[in-house]
Every structure is written in C-alpha cells, then in structure tokens.
Symmetry: D5
Subunit: 162 residues, 10 copies
Amino acid sequence: MTDRKNDGLTLLGNKGTHYIFDYDPKLLETFQNVHPDRDYFVKFNFPEFTSLCPITHQPDFATLHISYVPGERMVESKSLKLYLFSFRNHGDFHEDCINKIADDLIKLMDPKYLEVWGKFLPRGGISIDPYVNYGKKGTPWEAVAFERLSKHDLYPEHIDNR
Amino acid sequence: MTDRKNDGLTLLGNKGTHYIFDYDPKLLETFQNVHPDRDYFVKFNFPEFTSLCPITHQPDFATLHISYVPGERMVESKSLKLYLFSFRNHGDFHEDCINKIADDLIKLMDPKYLEVWGKFLPRGGISIDPYVNYGKKGTPWEAVAFERLSKHDLYPEHIDNR
Amino acid sequence: MTDRKNDGLTLLGNKGTHYIFDYDPKLLETFQNVHPDRDYFVKFNFPEFTSLCPITHQPDFATLHISYVPGERMVESKSLKLYLFSFRNHGDFHEDCINKIADDLIKLMDPKYLEVWGKFLPRGGISIDPYVNYGKKGTPWEAVAFERLSKHDLYPEHIDNR
Amino acid sequence: MTDRKNDGLTLLGNKGTHYIFDYDPKLLETFQNVHPDRDYFVKFNFPEFTSLCPITHQPDFATLHISYVPGERMVESKSLKLYLFSFRNHGDFHEDCINKIADDLIKLMDPKYLEVWGKFLPRGGISIDPYVNYGKKGTPWEAVAFERLSKHDLYPEHIDNR
Amino acid sequence: MTDRKNDGLTLLGNKGTHYIFDYDPKLLETFQNVHPDRDYFVKFNFPEFTSLCPITHQPDFATLHISYVPGERMVESKSLKLYLFSFRNHGDFHEDCINKIADDLIKLMDPKYLEVWGKFLPRGGISIDPYVNYGKKGTPWEAVAFERLSKHDLYPEHIDNR
Amino acid sequence: MTDRKNDGLTLLGNKGTHYIFDYDPKLLETFQNVHPDRDYFVKFNFPEFTSLCPITHQPDFATLHISYVPGERMVESKSLKLYLFSFRNHGDFHEDCINKIADDLIKLMDPKYLEVWGKFLPRGGISIDPYVNYGKKGTPWEAVAFERLSKHDLYPEHIDNR
Amino acid sequence: MTDRKNDGLTLLGNKGTHYIFDYDPKLLETFQNVHPDRDYFVKFNFPEFTSLCPITHQPDFATLHISYVPGERMVESKSLKLYLFSFRNHGDFHEDCINKIADDLIKLMDPKYLEVWGKFLPRGGISIDPYVNYGKKGTPWEAVAFERLSKHDLYPEHIDNR
Amino acid sequence: MTDRKNDGLTLLGNKGTHYIFDYDPKLLETFQNVHPDRDYFVKFNFPEFTSLCPITHQPDFATLHISYVPGERMVESKSLKLYLFSFRNHGDFHEDCINKIADDLIKLMDPKYLEVWGKFLPRGGISIDPYVNYGKKGTPWEAVAFERLSKHDLYPEHIDNR
Amino acid sequence: MTDRKNDGLTLLGNKGTHYIFDYDPKLLETFQNVHPDRDYFVKFNFPEFTSLCPITHQPDFATLHISYVPGERMVESKSLKLYLFSFRNHGDFHEDCINKIADDLIKLMDPKYLEVWGKFLPRGGISIDPYVNYGKKGTPWEAVAFERLSKHDLYPEHIDNR
Amino acid sequence: MTDRKNDGLTLLGNKGTHYIFDYDPKLLETFQNVHPDRDYFVKFNFPEFTSLCPITHQPDFATLHISYVPGERMVESKSLKLYLFSFRNHGDFHEDCINKIADDLIKLMDPKYLEVWGKFLPRGGISIDPYVNYGKKGTPWEAVAFERLSKHDLYPEHIDNR
Ligand SMILES: [Ca+2]
Ligand SMILES: [Ca+2]
Ligand SMILES: [Ca+2]
Ligand SMILES: [Ca+2]
Ligand SMILES: [Ca+2]
Ligand SMILES: [Ca+2]
Ligand SMILES: [Ca+2]
Ligand SMILES: [Ca+2]
Ligand SMILES: [Ca+2]
Ligand SMILES: [Ca+2]
Ligand SMILES: [Ca+2]
Ligand SMILES: [Ca+2]
Ligand SMILES: [Ca+2]
Ligand SMILES: [Ca+2]
Ligand SMILES: [Ca+2]
Ligand SMILES: [Ca+2]
C-alpha cells in the first residue's frame, strides 16, 4: 500500500471539517503520485457546483467534470470538494469559473494534461457549457490538448430543459 | 473577478426586457474575452427555438446547439436568447435559419471557430437537422472546421417521432 | 367506414391552411362520435404549445396532454392544433391557459370527461405543471373526475432542468 | 402439452403466407383456451400498425397494445398479425380503427375482458392515442371494464415528437 | 385575461431582484385564484434547492416537487423561487426543511391540499427523500390527504448514486 | 441466522450441477419459511427463459417475473433456475408455459399468493406477454388475486421491437 | 431550528468513525421526531448494501429502499448507514436480511409504518427482490400495511442482467 | 429571406397532395442551394419507412437517416417524404432499398456527400441495418466518404427486440 | 428489382423450416451482391444467441452484432439466424464462439471487412464481451481492420447487472 | 472445440469455491489463447467491486471495465472475479486499486494491450474514475496505448449522484 496517508493531507478523515463559502484556492491539497512512470487519467465528477451570478447574484448550478493526467503531485479529492464548495457565495460568470478552476489546478499540480467541463442549468431557457483544457509544454500532452480541443463535443447531449 | 460588468452590456440584469418577435441581429451584444491566450469552447443549448415556415406559416420548433471558440469578443447569453426569440414570427426554411444564425454570430464575434446545429421537430413524419460550421482563416481552426465537418454526426440520434 | 368526411369539417385535408396567432376558440371544429354507446378515451399529445408571459411577454413553452371521453361530438385534431397555435402571441399565465383550454373544449364538445395537463419549461429554475379535469354532471364521470383529481400525479416525473 | 396443434389453425407454421392489405376480419382465427377455469391476461404488443388517413390518404403509423382475459376461444397470434396488416391500404380515422379492432376481437373470441390502446405517430405536431375497453356482461369483468376505464392513463407517457 | 397583474405582486417582472440567502418566509407572495369554483392541481418542480447541514455545515442538494390544490390565494412562482433560495445558507435537517416548507405554504395560501417531496443527493452513500402532505379540514381533501399518504411511493425510483 | 442450510437443499453450493433441458418440475426444491407470521413478497427476475415453439420448433425467448407471498415452504432460487432452464428444448405455447409454471409453483409451495408474467420477444413483429396469478382459498389473498388481476398492466411498457 | 443536535446523536459529524463489518443492530441511533402531530414519509435509498451468501460465502449486492412513517423516534441516517455496512462480512439469505432489517428498525423506532425493499444483483442469471412491510397495531397504518402489500409491485422493473 | 418559394416547388404547401404507393423517383423535387460557398450538412430523420419483402410480401419497417452536403441543388423535404412513401407497396430487400435511395438522391442532387442508413425492425429475431455513403469525385468529399465508411458504427446501438 | 430470388436461396420464404441445435456452418447460404462497385456496410443485430458453457453446460446468452462490407457474395439473413441458432446445444467458451462465427463468415463470403461483437449476460457477477474483426488482404480494408480494432470500444456501455 | 478444459484451470466448474477477502493476486489463473494469430479484444464488466478506504476504512464501490488484446495466455473469468473480490477487506485508494489491477494482469498474461477503468460511487458528493492502459513494447499496441490514452473519455457520462 502507498504511503499516501503521511503525505501531508490534513482533510481526509479529519474531524470537524470547516466549510468555506468564499472562493479560496488555498483549500486545495496534494499528495505524491506513486505511479510516476505511467501516464494515466483520473476524472472527478461533481454535480454539486453552485456559484452566484456576478450581476444579478442569482444562484447558478452546474455539474463539473475534471479530468487530468498526473505529474508528480495529485489533488486530494476532499480538498477539491471543499475548494469547489468555496464558490458557493462567490460571484462569477460561467466561463470565468471554469477558466479559474483550470488555472488553479494547473498551478497546484503541474499536471501533464487537464480539462474542466462545466454543464450549467439553464437561465432564461438557455444553458452554457464551457470547456477548457491544457497540455504541459515540452510533453506530448501539449499537442494532445489541442487535438482534444479540436475534437471537443461533436455530439452535444440531448437537452430539453426538463 | 473580471470586469465584464462594465463591458457595455445592456440586457443582463436589466429591467423591463423588451421581447422582439421579428428577426433582428442588432439584438446581439458582446463582451470582452478575458482569457485571450487560451483556446476554449463555450456551448449554448437552446431548446426553445421557434420560427415560421415561409410557405405555410405553420410554426416550426427546434433545439439549437451553438458552440464556439472565442476570439476577442464573446456573445452575451441573454442577448443571444433575445436574438433567437426574434425568429418567432419570422418565416424561413430550417436550413436558412441555421445558416443565418451562423453568419450573424461570425460577423458579431469574429470567433476562431463556430458551429450551429438545429434539431427540428418533424413535419409530415420527417424531420430536418441542419449543421453549419466555420473556422477562421489563418488560424488552425480553419482546418479543424473541415475536419469536424467531415466527421459530423457519425451516430445519428435515435428518432421515432414519439 | 364512418361518414366523418361529410361532417362539416373544413380544415382536415384542406388547402392553404391559415395560421392564426391570436387566441381564437372559434377555430375549433367537431364531428359526430360514431360510437355513442361506448365510453372510451381519446388522448392528444401536443409538445408544441407556446404562449407569452402576460407580464414580461417572454415566450413560454409546454407539452400538453388532453384526454377525454366523448359524448356526441368529438374535436377534430387539425382544428385543435390550430386552436392551440392561436395562443402563440397571446399573453396568459400557465394556470390560466390550462383552465381556458379545458373550458373551451368542455363548451365545444360537452364531453363526458375531460382533462388537460400542461408541463411547462422552467423559468428561473422553477417549472409549473397545472392539471385541470372535469366530469359531466349526472353521469358516472362526475365522480370519476374527483377520483382522478384526488389521485393525480402521485409520481412526479424526474426533473433536472437539463 | 396442449392439443392446440390440431385446433383448426391454418396459418401458424404454414407455407406461403398470403398477405392481404385490405381490411378483412375473416383473417382472424381462434383456438381453444385450455385453462378455462382461470382468469388470466394475454397482451399483444404490435408496433407495426399502419393504415391510411381516409381524407388525405397519407399513411398513419401506430403501436398497438391489445390485452384480454380469454373465455373459451383465444385469438391465434399470426392470424392477428395478418388481420392487423390488412389495415395497410385501408382508410380510417385513428379512433375508428381502434374501435373496429375491439369490435372484431370481441365478436371473434367472446372474451371476458378486452382492451385496445393505439399510440399513433404525430401528424402536424399533434398525436392521438385512442383507448377502448370492454367487459363481458354478467361477469365481474363488466364492472372491471368501467373501473379500468375510469383509471385509464393517469400518467401520460413523455412525448416530445423526437 | 385575468387581472393577476395588479394583484399586489412585487417580484415578477420587476427589476433588480434582491436574492436573500437566509431563510425568510416573508419573501412569499400570493395572488387571487381566478378559478375558485374548480378544484385543480398546480405543481412546481425545483431542482435547485440547496441548504446546509445544521451539524457539519456541509451543503445539501435536492430536487423539490410541490403540488397543491388552490383555495382563494395562489403562490406566485418567482416569490416561491426566492423563498426556496433563502435556504441557501440556512442549516436544517432534510426532514425539517420539507416540513417547514409545507407549513409556510399552508399558512400562506390556506390551500385545499398541498404536498412537498424532497429528493436529496446522497451523503455517505445514503440519500433521504422526505414527503409531507396536508388536506384542509372540513373539505374532501382532508380524507384525500391520508389516502395519498397511504399510497405514497409504492415504486421508489431507481437510485445508483451515479 | 436461520437453519436454512440443513433444510434438505441439494443444489445450492453443490458441485457438478447437472443441467436438464427437458421440462422437469421435479427439479424444484423448497425450504422452510422462517418468517411464517409475516406476509411478505419475494420476486424473481429471470431474463434467460427460452423454450421452443411447439409447431415450428423455433426457439422463443422471454423475461419472466415471478412474485409470491410464501406460506410454509419457499422455492430455492437455484432449483428454480434449473427448472426454468428445463424448458430449453421443450415445445409449448407462450400462454401454456406461463400457466404451467404457475401451476407447478402453486403445487410445490402452496403459497398464499403467486403471479407469473412472461414478456416474450416478438415473432413476426408481434409479441405476447401472458400474466397468470393465484390467491389461496380461505385467505385474504384470494380476493387480492382478483383485485391484482383486475388492475393488471394499466400502463403497458413502451415496445418498438428495437 | 430543531434541537436535534443535542438529542444524544454520537455519530453524525463526529470524528474517527469506526466501521464495523459484523452485523450489529446496536449501531443504530435515534433522535426525537419534532413533527409528532403529522404523519409523513421518510425514505432512505442505499445502493451500497453487500452481505455474504451463508452457504457459498460469495458476496451479494443490493440496492435497498427503506420507507417509514415516524412515531416518536426517528433513525439517524449515518447510524443507519453504519448498521447496513455491518452486514458486509455477515452471511445470510436475501429474504432473511430484509426481514432482519425490518425487525431491527421496528424494534428501534416503533414507527407507525415501515417497509424495506431489497433489489439484489443476479446470481446464476436470476435475481431476488424481497419486500417486507409493517403497520403499527391500533393505528390506521395496520390496515394500510396490508393494503400496500396487496398492491405491491404491479409493475416489475425491466431487468435484462446488463 | 431566400427566394426558395419560387424555385419550381410544386408540393410544399399545395393542396390535395396525392400519395403514390408504387416506387417512383420522379416524385423527388429540388430547389437551389442559396449557400453555395459553404459546405454544410443537412440530415433527414424518417421513422415511417415501410416496404414489402420481395419474396414473402410481408411488410418491413425501418427508420431512415439521410445526411448530405449539398451541391447546387437540394432535395425538398415534402417531395422526399412522398418518394419514401412510394416504397409502401414495393417489394425489395433491405440492402437494395438503401442502395436505391442513395442512387436516386445522388442522381437527383449531385451532392458533394451523401449517406443513407436504414435501421429495420427484426424479422425472425434478427434485424438488418444497411449503410451506404458517397463522396463526389474531384472534391475532398471523395476521400471523406471512405474515411466515414471506414469508421462507420464503431458503437452499435443497444438492441433487445423489445 | 434484383434477381436475388433465383440466387439459390433455399430458406427464405420456404416452408417447414427445420431448426438444427448442433453447431453446423453448412446452414449458411449466400446470394450475389448486386452493388459490387460500392463498398457499403450491412449490420445484423441478434439478441437471441444462446450456447452452453463447455465445462458446466450451463446455458449462456448474448446479443451479437455482426457488421461487414460485402465482396461478391452476401450472407442471407434467415440462414444466418439458423446458423446462430445451431449453437443452442453446443458447448463453447464465449471467446471461441465469437472467433468461430467470424471464421465461418469470412470463409463463406470472402468479405472485404467483417466484425463480430458478442455481449454476454453475466455469470457470477462478471460479463465478457469479445470482439473480433478482419480486413481482406490486398484491399484498403486490411488497414481499416487494425484501425478499427485499435479504436475499439473507448466508451464501454454502462453495466449494472440489472 | 478448444482443449481449454485441460489447461490447468482449477476454479471454473469446481466445487466448494473458497472466497478470499484479502488482496491476493495468486488467485488469478490463465489458459492458452487458441487464436494466437488474431489480435482481438476481450472485455470484462464487473459492477461488484468493493474495497476499503485506507484512511477511514469506509467501504468503497465501483464498476470496473477491463479490456485486453490477448497474447499467448488469457485470464480465466472466474479466477478474475475471485481476485477482484479479494479487495473486499483491503484498504487502498481508488487510483492505486486501478493501477494495481492493471499491473497484476500485465504481469499475469503479458497481453498485447490492456486497460482498466474504475467508476467509483461518490464520497462527499464527488466521484473518482481512474483509467490506466498499457501497450506491449515492440508491438503496434505500444503506440495504440498512447493513442487510446490521448483520446480517453472525450464524452464523460452524465452523473447526477442519483
Ligand atoms: Ca431533458
Ligand atoms: Ca431532464
Ligand atoms: Ca420509441
Ligand atoms: Ca439530466
Ligand atoms: Ca425530450
Ligand atoms: Ca421522445
Ligand atoms: Ca423518441
Ligand atoms: Ca444503474
Ligand atoms: Ca444518475
Ligand atoms: Ca443513476
Ligand atoms: Ca429495445
Ligand atoms: Ca425498444
Ligand atoms: Ca443495466
Ligand atoms: Ca434490454
Ligand atoms: Ca438492464
Ligand atoms: Ca438526476
């Protein structure tokens, strides 16, 4: 078994988790990737994302999919959840939330590859689904990132607002 | 947070929205893309599109999917909704509506890439789904546009008119 | 075969159908029920209902289900479609549209039983589904109407606004 | 095993089946119910029903569900299929087709209970689903028939014409 | 058209909606039921409910279904949305939220019948779905309420936490 | 824990199970119901039923649902599976298979209530779904059986032969 | 807000939860029902149930649905989860697990009504779904329990083992 | 708006449509493509295709998907419907129908690209789905056609004949 | 119409079909491909495949998808069905059945391309889905075969054994 | 038929299977690939994976998809199931379980290609889906492995935690 338990994680299995509802990237924690010689994918599904519209302050809701190929550090899932919950009372546009999450995770983990897809609930009958991705310079994943972007979402999911 | 609030938007969060039901591309408004160094996708889902048949004047109904890679300007979603609602009493063929929407958005935003897919309800047992896309000349997205077109819809969705 | 063809119908199979977009119950036409000795159900499904919000004038969209047990007259389906299309530019609340449709059809056909269920697309994240029914006095369907109302929709359909 | 093989059936397993496309109830054949002491249900699902509109001659399409509680005779399924195929070039209204099928099967089998539900594809955006049932006089199924009719279709299936 | 527009509603179509994130039943507004002689159902679907766990302060998420038979007053949907949004930073147990919403709406509208069903996302692999209903004393709906409660949810929806 | 292990079961967990493909009700085994004071339901789902048409010898396929309220003895599931597999090379009509399975299980277990529903794959575009039930004389389940039969399948499942 | 926090609960929000994998009903904890004058339903969905076959010791898997109408005490959901997890290394038949869970919860809470439905994954192509319910003597729920049992699962869910 | 109305179309919006049930490619009509400088896709979905088996004369049923990239002429949808209905009493094998439709449309429109996929209902438990495509010589679509053919249907849809 | 009727087929439309339940590839029959100049796909869906485990003799069940690009000869669908039914009492492993079917069809038809995908029902909670493909040497389909194999099933279908 | 029966398999069809609940790769057994000249895929679907969190010891649940292209040896499915069950009381992180399974199977079989995808149930509202793949050095599958990894999961499945 890996030694991940002693890798500086403070949140998983701890007691008295404190929930922060103002955007705070410092909530994110990492641990060591114990399979550094293998490129592989890890995906997080998070259907509980909610933030505020920066203009009207109406709550927005989205399901997020975050996929990445780890480098040396990996994001711990409970800290990721707390970080995503920290958008709860934060006002930002859909596109900016998704870009910000991508930027924070790239800075945190220095991954080989990362993508974030937000699927928001409709406002006024129209819904917005931003998608951002990234490949690390100097690795094959730089080209893969553009390749994946160029092939993004050829089959939009069926949407009827019910 | 971005300064999108002061980017000349007149519709989002305003009061007394006025709904126009005659085709009017001047309803469209844009704001500044604050992530100009990153190519990323934004998709709009709009299941409330309705127009009139130019010959019989019978109402037509469709779900639209509009995806694009922004350049310097981005379309504001409420203005997009009002623009799409402006087809309500406008008579045009399915294929022409989709081409027109693509043309208007290309002209408005000068995006790197854009695609519009309309999925119309059947008339007389047959339904029509036009798909138009565009890649900006002089960018990698010109070639991507043809690549995406050539791979378009290899898996038509299940349709049984019920 | 029944003699329904000569029952005064002016719309089915006619030429140059004229679409009216202002509420007009006089568009409705009926024909003779040729099975008067049998109580049976006829249901219409209509996913193309659209009207305007009487306050904001924003378009509203709904799927309607109309079921009835005919008396002597039955509503002709093309005339029903034209009648329902006549709400297109008419402003009325969801609940009032459904009540009005029920009232118009009861007055038109004098059915033994009738029900109208509207399932509207969400506005502001919330959707409204009014349901109205009616049983003719002096028939067993008067009691059935309350029985059906009292058992209405014990299993609300799954809604997630996507 | 039952002696159904020698019960006068001429169609099942025969050779050179002849398909009739003009309505012909004489195609129907029956066999003996070998469980006469038990009331039980038999349901036929038939998604291949097609007839013609008596006015426009446009083809109509439906899925039929036919359920019954047998008396002494039961309808043989291949003869039922041939009978239903015989509506192919026959012009009749949706409601009349369903009533006629019910009448023919009641006359043929003298069942304790029978119901026929037709779910037609839309024409002009609207679809029609007639439902007819019957309970034999002097049996408990006479009351059951009205009870089932009074509870018919409290949960209309989701319809969006796609 | 009904005179609902002048029925004291302050929120629908107004400008500068102010979002409150602390539980506040005074946000609720009503208007006159213009069909007082007819018992009918109105259902609200609200998949954007979120509150906080009163012990851990972790956000909780639910889809709410609220159905009622109006008496003299009806709840306005935008005010209902604002009221439901006011649970956003409020800590309460699932069962207590649903009971509280029912109590507030009964007090507000004095309806003939009302029910509230909350379907919460899982915590720790287990999810909780409280259901509360009410029938007005002295009306047939008092008995209907127990009848509906006694028949509640004989077919739990398929849940697999994905 | 119950003493079911020593209740004469010969098949569950045994070695070298022998599969019989000729109808043989003696394959069925029972064990003691250890909750004799409680009426409760047990349902078996079996999507692997296959038999032969007695006339054409073509294989038939069905999903079976068998539900019962136990009396003193209960059917062991592996023996039930072997019994159902014993129809594999047996020729019988759909309706007769379902009646025979019901008869065999009633004789085997003397249950308070039992029902068998077969949902067969189509032949020639038409499919047959027989349903048989039974309630023990002298118990409340005798009346329940007719009540359940009279309410059977008010909502036929959607069938499109694909 | 209710005073549930100080109602003797030891598990919710505590630290260092200890998972027990041997059947132990003493894990269950209760809190006070703060709506004692209202009969209402609470449902738990638990798709993570696993136990062992008492004969072969092969793991079994099920989704459980537990619904009840509370009396004075209610079961706390985290303690319920821990109790259900305690079946992990416990050997028992499907039917006996469901009966045991019902018995333990009735003894714990003294509810007005309770039901437990287990939907197990197939073994050998066949799956078993036991359903147990209970109504408190001397309350209207005693009769409701038999009424619900007599109407149990008239529409078995579609199962194809994939 | 385009001048498509005066492009020689005789069927759309006309009166007294005459339905032909013998295969007749002369029913097809075209209009001018008003976006000649853009390659784009138009897809027709047609779930009402029916023809006869040339050997047994049994009716066959299919859903057709027809997609094309227009050249100078485009097929008018009502004429396409009438053409497809003209197979109603025509006997031909599944594969030959699909090839014939492709050939007729290529000859009619001289498109840049075209594909036809037929998904037939099963006969004898087995169903057949022919797929034909074409790319115009001397255009990039010639190579695209083989590319699309080589990637055809890597994910066959789930089929269970129910 | 093609002259396929006189192409030596002995099974389609014949009388007294004889069903063989021991593996027999000689049941397969072919007819002439009348579109030899066009590469196109034909897919067979067969959800009624059943064979025996060669070790335990327990019946196995699968849905098969067979797709091919014809050369000069094509497999007749009824003979294919009879061939597939001939595995009914034949014992073989899942992987070997699929390889054998591919080998037999390649030998029979000498197709340009062929693939066979078997999706078996689970045994012991685990299911197996073998996939075999083939491209004719000296044609472009040799390279296509490896290309398709290398891209096989990037999106495994959702499986939950229910 | 292949000679797989005598290939040293000890588990399939044996008696008294012993279930191990501590991680043990020695449970895995192989047999000879009898189609060594053909590259083909075999996929295992396993929805019954459960392990423990190494920190909290809470049970985790996942559906696994394991696909491979065999070399000379193939993994026997019952031994694979027993191996996967051996994680039942083993504590490890999601990502490490999937890497370990891939490593064990690569070491066991020396396959040309292998991939393992785990889809875990959510903890705290967030779920994790690791994906690992491998291509044998010196074969075309080495490049295919990176190609498949680079195209992994462009369409994340819809997740809503219900
Ligand atoms: Ca939807
Ligand atoms: Ca939805
Ligand atoms: Ca369908
Ligand atoms: Ca959804
Ligand atoms: Ca829909
Ligand atoms: Ca639909
Ligand atoms: Ca559909
Ligand atoms: Ca599932
Ligand atoms: Ca879900
Ligand atoms: Ca789910
Ligand atoms: Ca199907
Ligand atoms: Ca189907
Ligand atoms: Ca499934
Ligand atoms: Ca299925
Ligand atoms: Ca399934
Ligand atoms: Ca959902």
